[in-house]
Symmetry: C2
Subunit: 161 residues, 2 copies
Amino acid sequence: MSQGVEWALHCCTVLAGLPPERTLPSARLAEYHDVPPAYLAKHLQALSQAGIVESVPGPRGGYRLARAADAVTVLDVVLAVDGADAAFVCTEIRQRGPAACADPSAYPKPCGIARVMWAAEDAWRQSLREHTIADLLGTALREAPATQMVNGAAWLGEVMR
Amino acid sequence: MSQGVEWALHCCTVLAGLPPERTLPSARLAEYHDVPPAYLAKHLQALSQAGIVESVPGPRGGYRLARAADAVTVLDVVLAVDGADAAFVCTEIRQRGPAACADPSAYPKPCGIARVMWAAEDAWRQSLREHTIADLLGTALREAPATQMVNGAAWLGEVMR
DNA sequence: GTCCCTATACTCGGATAGCAAGTGTCCGAGTATAGGCGG
DNA sequence: CCGCCTATACTCGGACACTTGCTATCCGAGTATAGGGAC
């Protein structure tokens, strides 16, 4: 799984903690998480194209969540960054080789192996669908050390636009 | 996900259909599935190292399942081929940046984001754990076209050692 | 003092190199077999 | 005719190139702002 997924989820959590309509530039998000700014920008682009965050150009611009934090699931973010393609791709090798049946219509149902793999992916997606960015923010606010809470609030007060 | 997972699952299914103690060389398995023999051998090696299949060297040698087909889960095969590492790796970026707390002991629990991602992976693993190679063989025998059943049995009768 | 215009600086967005892991292939080590030889 | 030995051929196992996708970076297009000038 791509490294950008972790960054994207952390960024969305931070954006969810901002006051409404306020934005944060990608450079500030990179600074907050101590990650390469240019590379993080690429992933935020993906979030923007997926309609998860909105971009505001120009000075006092930046990113903000495009929807309410409880309307953005973790799955939405993961699919936006890593792509929506299924991890397991069935190449239908059962229809190849010396024993295969030449007529494709003889295989009406998907390969049983693919069905099992896809069912597991569905379980994975369902699990990610049950958690939203609002949940992540709530957990972070509940479990973060007091020092980080104070430092984070102070830092935000300085850089927020 | 690696291409080899699909091949490995199909190979295990074929091996599960063999009479007890009989083996099938990797070259025959590659021929049956019409895949590059040398590359398939590499994946079968991984299955062998994981203790899922047993290898018999020399003439009349080959591979066979190391355990009963209903004692090998799909998860076993997937982990053997693709590696057992978690797909999502938490780099603890919450402990970096200007707002982070310097003392690592201030973060007793794993990051909330990682917990959500790992829970989804557990759901995925659990789903794969619920299906065995015996299930895959049963589905294949039940759903395969009659032509393929006949061709496959004839081909096996010729090449099986 | 107010309005307008312009230059500025800051933002995002897509196009461009570098690297690691998966993909694909090969040849060498080891072994059960099959045939030949001796008794 | 039987047993043993040797050469063979076939198997797996690990070491070696190549390609795709992730990692990382940069510069250009567009915009709200801030300041200055005119009225």
